[in-house]
Symmetry: C2
Subunit: 146 residues, 2 copies
Amino acid sequence: MAPDDMTLTNQLCFSVYHASRLFTKFYKQALEPFQLTYPQYLVLLSLWEEDRQPLHKLGERLDFGSNTLTPLLKRMETNGWLTRRLPATDHRQLIVSLTEQARDAKPEIFAAIHQCVAQQNVDVSKYNDTLAMNHELIATLQRMLK
Amino acid sequence: MAPDDMTLTNQLCFSVYHASRLFTKFYKQALEPFQLTYPQYLVLLSLWEEDRQPLHKLGERLDFGSNTLTPLLKRMETNGWLTRRLPATDHRQLIVSLTEQARDAKPEIFAAIHQCVAQQNVDVSKYNDTLAMNHELIATLQRMLK
DNA sequence: TCCAATTCAATTGCGTACGATTTAATTTAC
DNA sequence: GTAAATTAAATCGTACGCAATTGAATTGGA
């Protein structure tokens, strides 16, 4: 994973880390009007795909533990994005559901993001290549961590 | 930057974010014996390239502000990795220098990382392709944030 | 049935990240 | 030479991330 040249700019780890923080900064701008942070937006993305997920399933998709999700979801509940309730069948689980506000805001939020992106005329095929390479990288890292 | 398919797995931002957190987890394992965190290791990488940098230059390379670096560097000083001192010429600056311990540990630390990587026989040309793509991505993001 | 193992969410503690502000030192303009 | 502008580190407050532990609920085997 690390090349012989151990300079900062030649470290894949640093370039990924740097890009990730720039993405966070970018989304911060786009999401500011909605009082959403970037990790909170990821939770919405997952719930827009599938509503009413138990916390541990949400955590599985996002690779978050309850130590990260519990306080984050409480903040989102406070801000009216979702509800947290125990199902009658199993009191260990916590079902997370979108509110009306969250369902309604979806097109607005996507529009806000697209508008921020629009000026850059992104190359779609390059986007997909980069995405594919990142998926390979993730797979490699997951193998290494087993 | 965002494709029409707004699912989690098709979001470049999430794949970068996920990869970055996996890298952090990987380096946590490799760096544990040295009492170093991953951002602290990045500081060492920069100082191994060029010793005796003022805080703001270190921050420029790593894209960190003093709000992040000040406490991080204090922890590293406590653990014996570096010294922080005001130069006689300009008392606004803070010069960060490696300790003997940090210079000596360099080969050991690289060996530890390489050992963790070795089992995976990484494809060097793919490493470089991914690195190049990430650099392009970083450039795009920096343009978008200007 | 009943208790041991398992499954979950919550809690704790620490170290980032980062916007915003403050404080101190130096430089510049006049 | 001095006040204003600039530069730089530190401080403050909030929100992650995550290892480790706790505690409650459920399941499963004797």
